[in-house]
Symmetry: C2
Subunit: 260 residues, 2 copies
DNA sequence: CTTTAAAAGTTGTAAGACAACCTACATCTG
DNA sequence: CAGATGTAGGTTGTCTTACAACTTTTAAAG
């Protein structure tokens, strides 16, 4: 329709470009692109909680895709718990509040998650280092032991308050070849993006933790943390990042939207 | 096709039965029923991790539904992270291990979750009480203040080890009318099921906790807990249960499958 | 043996038709 | 008038058919 939502088709034609062989495709499916577009509009607050979305026919006309594709995208949103579709009535924004905007079930960078909470994110790098993978890391990332990895230690700040300490490990192969320690700042996802690596799934183990060995700088050793141990995978289920993040209890609550 | 998968159609015809008005439908959609059937088969381990599922055409023939419906169900599984579908190749079981069998993102009773971990669940009721809702409870459950609720305190055991303390509140209206305190045991989901209430979504807030006020009986006051505060909703997004569960750190780790 | 081409199998998208469901309004009935 | 009933229009649910796009296998050509 108008210029607003042409990204869907822009991608479609752009995919004819010579593709890097053996690499995970950016994402070919129309329905996935459409779902992402709608998800963005939802998270931008284009529709209120409980409000009805455009009908399938309207979306079909607006995006210039078939109703089948629109239905696929809408069903994806419903499966994620973002919308509720009722036979004969329409599709509505589900009323689960911020869980749909910043729920743990949706894989997003911490930067984005903090923004979704309405705060300003910042990353303070404590250390950045290329080194050989430890045995544990090699196992988690399905690498040969000793493979070079980038190891980072960062403090995550929201509105200039430290909300988490985070430790990440990424195989050096999955980063731009000319990268040096000095170039590492901001979002790690952005770096991997440049090398064509797109995390699409993650498994997170949740537990509680406390103790002086967590983090650095001025802090209370009695502090409780939510300990998130994650492994991120790309579209081909290949592990690409291992991370461990300690969220400062009380400063950054997060939610999970659970669906049947 | 054999009798094995006829449940899908059994439901279809059974839905002609006189429906209780104003009640959330059990689940009308064919695609949802099919997805549940496939999910059950996945969790029963019918296909190994990485293994290819039957093709869309095969499933269509096996279940006697159209390929569109099969696709809808498969896309639902993919959105949940249970499978990966590749253009021109097929649909495969995703290799994310136990996260797909007992991940927090899927709403299941604690009983089921413990079983999915390969352990035997048990509930020890510490107190069961009908009383008026507190202000906080009334707000969380969208009730008039003072509405009668069932309040329970339970210890959750896996293989006879206490893994969590749990506090639940359910509006009395949503339970069988003739229910008395003595009748409350085992799964609360089972009780609500009898009254036609089916939780379909939940929002869970995750944090860490510690202190002597958590739980009862013999225990170390230094113990760390993962604190899960949940509100469960039925298919019409009406809140039906409020709960707060403290998982004993180290005794019951849980995971979240995050999807983009 | 290597390269290229064709074929077969699988998922992705489109279009059209009709069923099932919901709401609102009009109409009938007592 | 009040309540039940019918009807029309809008929306989602399912099915059918067709073809495009992608992957692997097979066959043919060099």
């Amino acid at each position: 329709m108008t210029s607003k939502h042409d990204a869907v088709h822009a991608h479609k034609t752009a995919n004819r470009a010579p593709k890097p062989p053996g690499r995970a495709l950016r994402t070919a499916n129309l329905r996935v692109q459409l779902a992402e577009s709608l998800r963005d509009r939802l998270q931008m607050g284009e529709w209120q909680e409980g409000e009805q979305l455009p009908t399938e026919a309207e979306l079909s006309a607006e995006y210039g895709v078939s109703r089948s594709t629109v239905r696929s995208a809408l069903q994806q949103l419903e499966t994620l718990g973002l919308t509720i579709t009722r036979h004969g009535m329409g599709t509505f924004v589900s009323p689960y509040g911020h869980a749909i905007k910043a729920g743990l079930q949706e894989l997003r960078s911490m930067t984005d998650t903090i923004r979704a909470h309405g705060m300003t994110p910042k990353m303070d790098y404590h250390s950045v280092e290329f080194r050989a993978a430890t045995e544990q890391e090699a196992a988690a990332l399905a690498l040969a032991e000793g493979t070079r990895v980038l190891a980072t230690e960062r403090a995550v700040l929201a509105d200039d308050v430290t909300v988490a300490f985070s430790y990440e490990t990424i195989p050096a192969d999955y980063l731009p070849t000319d990268l040096s320690e000095k170039d590492v700042h901001g979002s790690l996802f952005a770096l991997m993006d440049k090398a064509g690596i797109v995390p699409s799934t993650a498994v997170a183990e949740v537990s509680a933790a406390s103790g002086p060995e967590i983090g650095w700088g001025d802090r209370d050793p009695e502090t409780l943390y939510v300990d998130l141990r994650q492994i991120h995978y790309d579209g081909n289920a290949r592990p690409v990042v291992q991370s461990r993040t300690y969220f400062h209890q009380g400063r950054f609550e997060f939610s999970v939207l659970r669906v049947r």
